[in-house]
């Protein structure tokens, strides 16, 4: 009996261990055996998820492919599904030891490890995505996704009938809060009655859980679902229920063509080319890059057939203002959930405030865990 109990136990444990070591990554990258052209510049990428996640990591990997296609004298290498704890520092180190001259670390949790490794290899250029620490050879980069979020909010606000929009939120960090706020402002710019209901999943990559969260929002009356995770689970939920959704990261209409209105997407390729060229030409600086719509780092994916021309025009107008720089999302007046004015008319929210966003705008139905 004891043995049987133990066997069951072991099975459970192994299943857990396998899940935790992360078994993702369906896509394989056929490596062209590079003809040993000695001059090739080696550029490395560290990913938090599997390249096949159809989300965050996939978008970065598209950028990597773009880089390789645009710069034949560049050789890229990547490591996927790298945990944010003790492992990342080693992976980064080993990539540098293998000759990488530029390293992109594409998750917030890689911030300290990136800084640590950079200290030991002053001759190598490091670019950390979404963080706030820099060093002489470390720059950070990110995109003003909130701009695209705002535009997608217009589509959602126009589409909703129930005036309830669900938002499947990842983690209560400023990046996500900022996205929710921008989206809500977009929704209410065309539909002041609409509310955005927020559910936190505390996941980046858990298709089942994220789908489930969307289902509960749909059950609560939402008829458009927005999301911040790296899987298309919420979009599939919307499609199954015959409702609509706003994807994220990449064009998610492939996964749920009947539901997806549009998706705010990342477009890293051109920026990666710019950085690598900068390193090659020795013009690279350790800036904190926060790319905007104007620079095309972020964009909206093509609209679904259900989006009306009227809506498209509204979005195009707003986009033009943003790109021109004549207006931006967090320009006053902006009220918080209590109705108090947080950003007065004529005021612009500073980048620093945006990077530390920790309150919801009016119209958001949810709380930020403190």
């Amino acid at each position: 009996m004891k043995n049987r109990k133990f066997l069951i136990l072991m099975t459970v444990v192994m299943a857990l261990a396998l899940v935790l070591t992360g078994c993702g990554g369906k896509k394989e990258e056929p490596k062209k055996e590079a003809p040993k052209a000695a001059e090739k510049l080696k550029v490395a990428f560290v990913y938090v998820g599997p390249v096949g996640d159809a989300g965050w990591t996939y978008a970065h990997d598209q950028g990597r492919k773009y880089l390789e296609s645009k710069m034949p004298d560049v050789q890229t290498v990547f490591v996927e599904s790298v945990p944010e704890g003790a492992d990342s520092e080693r992976v980064i180190t080993q990539l540098v030891e293998q000759g990488a001259k530029v390293v992109f670390t594409t998750s917030f949790g890689y911030m300290d490890p990136t800084i640590n490794v950079a200290k030991k290899y002053p001759g190598v250029t490091f670019m950390h995505c979404s963080g706030f620490k820099t060093a002489p050879n470390v720059g950070t980069y990110f995109g003003r996704m909130y701009q695209a979020r705002y535009l997608s909010g217009i589509a959602a606000g126009k589409q909703t009938k129930s005036n309830t929009i669900g938002y499947v939120a990842a983690f209560p960090i400023p990046e996500v809060v900022r996205g929710i706020n921008a989206f809500t402002l977009g929704v209410r710019s065309v539909n002041p009655q609409a509310k955005v209901k927020v559910i936190w999943t505390n996941t980046w990559y858990d298709p089942a859980k994220e789908k489930q969260a969307a289902m509960s929002l749909l059950d609560a009356g939402a008829d458009v679902i927005a999301q911040h995770q790296d899987t298309p689970g919420p979009m599939q939920a919307a499609q199954e229920k015959g409702k609509f959704g706003i994807g994220y990261n990449t064009d998610m209409s492939k996964m749920a063509p009947k539901a997806v209105l549009t998706s705010p997407v990342w477009n890293w390729g051109p920026y990666y080319v710019k950085v690598v060229e900068g390193v090659k030409n020795k013009t690279w600086k350790n800036e904190q890059y926060w790319g905007s719509m104007k620079e095309n780092v972020i964009d909206l994916a093509p609209f679904g057939p259900m989006v009306t021309d009227d809506t498209k025009k509204l979005i195009a107008d707003s986009k033009k203002k943003i790109v021109d720089g004549t207006w931006d999302v967090f320009w006053g007046p902006v009220k918080d959930q209590t109705g108090a004015v947080k950003i007065a008319a004529g005021q612009k929210m500073s980048d620093a405030d945006m990077l530390g966003f920790n309150w919801f705008v009016e119209g958001v139905d949810g709380t930020i865990p403190k």
Binding site: L16, L20, T21, G25, P83, G85, R90, T93, G109, P369
Partner: protein, 356 residues
């Protein structure tokens, strides 16, 4: 004449088998892995060479393998204490987090403490946090016979969410742009490391602890009690041993050591409390403890093997081997070692049977 093959339990697995079988198993795993790699157009030899080189072949790789093995060693030692008494403590992960949390309290609240107070204090708090987290399921088990597999497992989630709560809330670094991190610990809260590697004093702690465990569990009167209780609770009661008290002590010890692992990780490696502190150390350590048959020295070695597998697994990705293939290789090694374990206990015999 018909041949039949049947399984027979071995009476006395030989000592040599105990060494040879695991080695052959690992080898077999690599053979199977090689078939897969060949099928996906990769040169297995090249991949294995890289794996070996990345994990063990360079000073850096070796050091990193050890770094990776330290939390496994400590957690597996902690788990082994409970397993000896047939207390299935699946809660190492949670105890690890609680240890990390409790240890973080000191540098975050009293960052000015001198190192000689800070580090022992953190270690003590780490043991305390993990120990209490082990003690709670022990109480439920001892008082109301609540199955500890379930409770320790559930406590894991609570611990992880508790740490999440802290770093997203009250312990968030005020200067951290609202990111879920605590402030960086002061230098006095970092475990000393060897040379410029990341190997920290945790290694010495693990080795000393393994030796202490061996003496305590194999040679001491208390160890004898644990052994008897583990083998037969009825006999232990009959012999006048206090089972309830031992459940408390063993789970306290088990949790404390896992908590110490958490302390060593925040202090020696990460330097702050953050989410995703452990990529499942507490779970992997269960497998380590089991494969080591709870022997402390074996735990140290098997932890290194697992550390190497993980380090090597990431390293081969740089050759274009996807993470999933690396994970599959790790899985194959596990599968074969567990299977080999079975073969040391049983053997196949063929029997001829007259058929009328």
């Amino acid at each position: 004449m018909a041949m039949a093959v049947k399984l027979e339990k071995r009476l006395n697995p030989s000592a040599a088998m105990n060494v040879i079988v695991p080695l052959v198993s690992v080898l077999a795993a690599f053979v199977v892995g090689a078939i897969f790699l060949t099928l996906t157009d990769r040169d297995p030899l090249e991949v294995y060479t890289a794996m070996f080189k990345g994990a063990l072949g360079s000073q850096y790789g070796l050091a990193e393998t050890v770094v990776k093995a330290i939390p496994l060693m400590l957690c597996a030692l902690g788990i082994s204490a409970a397993f000896r008494m047939q207390l299935w403590n699946i809660g190492a992960e949670g105890q690890f987090y609680m240890g990390a949390f409790a240890a973080s309290y000191l540098p975050l609240t009293y960052p000015q403490l001198p190192i000689w107070l800070m580090l022992p204090g953190m270690a003590l708090l780490g043991c305390f946090g993990g120990g209490l987290w082990g003690l709670a399921p022990a109480m439920l088990r001892a008082r109301w016979k609540v199955n500890e597999i379930i409770t320790t497992l559930m406590f894991n989630y609570v611990a992880i969410l508790w740490v999440d709560f802290l770093v997203y809330g009250p312990w968030k670094d005020p200067k951290g742009f609202n990111f879920p991190l605590t402030a960086k610990f002061p230098a006095s809260a970092a475990l000393p490391t060897f040379g410029d590697s990341r190997i920290h004093v945790g290694l010495i702690i693990a080795v000393v602890l393994a030796a202490v465990f061996w003496v305590v569990f194999e040679k001491s009167r208390w160890g004898f009690e644990i052994k008897v209780i583990g083998a037969s609770e009825q006999a232990a009661r009959y012999a006048g041993m206090n089972i309830r008290r031992n459940i408390y002590w063993v789970m306290l010890l088990s949790g404390a050591v896992c908590g110490l692992a958490g302390m060593a990780e925040v202090s020696g490696i990460v330097g702050r409390l953050q989410p995703n502190l452990s990529p499942g150390y507490g779970y992997t350590a269960i497998i380590v403890a089991w494969l080591s048959k709870l022997h402390p020295a074996a735990i140290l070695l098997v932890s290194i093997l697992f550390g190497a597998l993980q380090v090597g697994g990431f390293f081969v990705q740089t050759m274009g081997v996807p993470a999933s293939v690396a994970a599959m290789l790790q899985g194959a090694v596990l599968f074969f070692v567990v299977g080999g374990e079975f073969l040391t206990q049983y053997r196949f015999v063929s029997s001829r049977k007259e058929v009328a």
